[in-house]
């Protein structure tokens, strides 16, 4: 039990996207709700990389933001290292907050353009009182810069003087400055070029080995996920449809949606394998289909799937939410 660093139980997040009250009154419209995350439960073990995979509207970024506290959960429970985050006092939260961090997708938006790199990296140090003396925080920033493959003299530059990959390194240095145990990575390389993506992914793996970090890795790219993750969860329209061991998932995907995603990955080896082509598009999450939300695109769907929501069934192979899964 205690080897779970993060436990999420029945997490839901609902956005109220209705028009303002007066418009609703005049136009006689009901409230409109978007269930971005729907009863998601998952555990992340200490030291592993857990990947969440999904396309747009799957709710993967929303889950990330709820976990780190940028968004409130509508219902459900998040336990970090055994403690329920919702029940902590502000002082206790201050200590817990130091232990988790987040790497954002867009390195061009995640660094304050008016700040010097040194100040950006030192901000968590100052906030958590980890570098009280001027000299010691300076030294720590220099160390961090070198740790992520930049040089200490880069600290006095501004973010716009760096390329995308270098900026993502700076963002990683900032994240590491408070010595966190758990890092949420929200599409950390999707804004980068491939040759740079490899550098960042390698850096993240090295850091994980050196500091025993636990990652929640969010991505839409299955090849990247396969390379990074120990376990993978697949999201579709806010629901977790499959969770399993990374190797197992690529060898034997059980949910039809996972199968479709795998088929859609371009064939770079040019083996010429014949593929079942993906069909349809993700429905509008405001008006999701009834029953299993995947049924309009599913080759196996029948009347039962249209009417009932499949429960998540756990087994040795992992968890899957599909009536047809074997």
């Amino acid at each position: 039990m205690s080897d779970n660093l993060l436990e999420i139980k029945d997490l839901s997040r609902i956005f109220d996207i209705s028009k303002p009250w007066l418009n609703r009154l005049i136009e006689r419209e009901d409230r409109r709700l978007l269930r971005a995350v729907n009863d998601v439960s998952l555990n992340i073990k200490r030291g592993e990389t857990f990947a969440l995979v999904g396309e747009s509207g799957s709710g993967k970024s929303t889950i990330a933001k709820v976990i780190v506290g940028l968004l409130a959960a509508s219902s459900g429970e998040i336990r970090f290292d055994g403690v329920n985050l919702a029940e902590q006092s502000p002082t206790a939260m201050r200590n817990i907050r130091r232990r988790y961090q987040m790497i954002f997708q867009d390195p061009f938006a995640s660094l304050n353009p008016r700040w010097r790199v040194r100040d950006i990296i030192a901000e968590p140090l100052r906030k958590f009182g980890m570098g009280d003396m001027e000299g010691s925080s300076q030294k720590r920033v220099d160390e961090l810069l070198e740790l992520v493959g930049l040089s200490a003299k880069d600290g006095s530059k501004f973010p716009h003087e760096f390329s995308g990959g270098q900026r993502q390194r700076i963002a990683i240095a900032r994240v590491l400055s408070s010595k966190p145990e758990f890092i949420v990575c929200d599409e950390p390389t999707s804004a980068l070029d491939v040759s740079v993506q490899a550098q960042i992914l390698n850096l993240m793996r090295d850091l994980q080995d050196d500091f025993g970090l636990t990652y929640l890795f969010i991505s839409h790219d299955l090849s990247v996920v396969r390379h990074m993750a120990n376990r993978i969860g697949v999201l579709y329209l806010g629901r977790l449809v499959e969770v399993s061991d990374s190797k197992e998932m690529f060898r034997n995907p059980r949910h039809p949606y996972t199968q479709m995603l795998l088929e859609a990955v371009p064939d770079l080896d040019m083996t010429g394998r014949t593929r079942v082509k993906a069909a349809g598009e993700i429905p509008n999450p405001i008006t999701p289909p009834s029953g299993c939300t995947f049924h309009p695109r599913c080759p196996l769907a029948d009347a039962h799937c249209k009417a009932n929501i499949p429960p998540v069934v756990e087994s040795d192979l992992g968890a899957v939410a599909c009536f047809k899964a074997t």
Partner: protein, 313 residues
């Protein structure tokens, strides 16, 4: 070690300014350079009025009614001591203009600063907090925006003067003017800052700051504020011209600076009474200076707006 960094940064600041796009576009635009030169000369002349002015118009002892309403010296009918002539109280027009532009510019700068601080604060809070706070602040702004600024300034000026009973007009005039002009111009800052804040608030660097539990006040101050200041600078420059004009208008209408401490507007008003009896110089010179000053500041504002707009570069 840290001093090493600091000298480096000081050096790089100068280099950054000289290397910046703004400095480049400044050097490219002749109109802007002339406008900046003119504005600088007027500002310096106003600042150094006690040193430059041949007479002290506030020194009652030196005034003589015998010298009143003298035309400019070059017309042949004037007195060589008074280059631009004198007004009805025998004050040297040139000296009064120098001292008057000092008051006009001071009122302009102070009221712009007041409006900017108020508007930026309210805009930041409205944009960052959102919800009811936002709604209240912006509705007040909307209501105020539906009246002309000059009307608001007149109203506030009148209210304050009424409350203080009009006593000590000479001492309070400056403060009253700054408050009334400032209060009538804050809306523009608030709206601009609010809309920029709405954009910046959702950027990931602000989320990163929220993530470590930084207090919202500190996030607004350290992260959002520096990134919304660009447009504020443009508005402040253009508003400086507007504030100077508004002050002149109020003074012209007789609710601004008193005749004992004349601003440019006050002088125009005084001269206005004598315009039809042929004493044109009392109005013309302060009027011309006002026009040139406002034009120069406006041109600077226009240039700054274009230079800071990445789409036009």
């Amino acid at each position: 070690m840290s001093t090493d960094y600091q000298t480096n940064e000081a050096k790089s600041l100068l280099r950054r300014v000289l290397d910046s796009d703004i400095w480049y576009s400044f050097k490219k635009s002749k109109v802007t350079m002339v406008a900046a030169g003119v504005a600088l000369i007027i500002f310096l002349a106003a600042l150094l009025a006690p040193l430059l002015a041949p007479h002290n118009p506030f020194d009652l002892a030196s005034l003589s009614l015998m010298d009143s309403l003298l035309p400019p010296s070059w017309t042949g009918m004037g007195d060589p001591r008074y280059l631009l002539g004198t007004d009805d109280q025998g004050r040297d027009v040139l000296s009064t203009i120098l001292y008057g532009s000092r008051i006009s510019i001071a009122v302009g700068l102070a009221s712009v600063a007041f409006a900017a601080v108020l508007g930026i604060t309210l805009g930041l809070v409205a944009g960052y907090m959102g919800g009811a706070v936002d709604a209240v602040i912006m509705r007040v702004a909307d209501v105020q925006l539906s009246f002309p600024a000059i009307l608001i300034a007149l109203l506030i000026d009148g209210t304050i003067s009424g409350l203080t009973g009009g006593v000590n007009r000479e001492e309070t005039a400056f403060t009253v003017l700054v408050i009334s002009i400032g209060l009538s111009f804050w809306v523009q800052y608030a709206r601009t800052v609010r809309s920029s804040t709405l954009v910046e608030r959702d950027k990931e660097y602000v989320q990163a700051a929220r993530l470590i539990g930084l207090h919202p006040f500190l996030i607004m101050l350290r992260h959002v504020l520096p990134n919304v200041m660009g447009p504020v600078l443009v508005i402040a420059t253009i508003n400086l011209a507007l504030a100077i004009i508004t002050e002149a208008t109020l003074s012209f209408l007789g609710v601004g600076m008193p005749s004992t401490q004349p601003s440019l507007g006050t002088m125009i008003r005084i001269g206005n009474d004598f315009l039809f009896s042929g004493e044109w110089w009392i109005t013309l010179f302060p009027g011309a200076l006002l026009a040139v000053l406002v034009l120069a500041v406006n041109l600077l504002g226009d240039w700054l707006r274009d230079a800071l707009n990445p789409k036009l570069r």
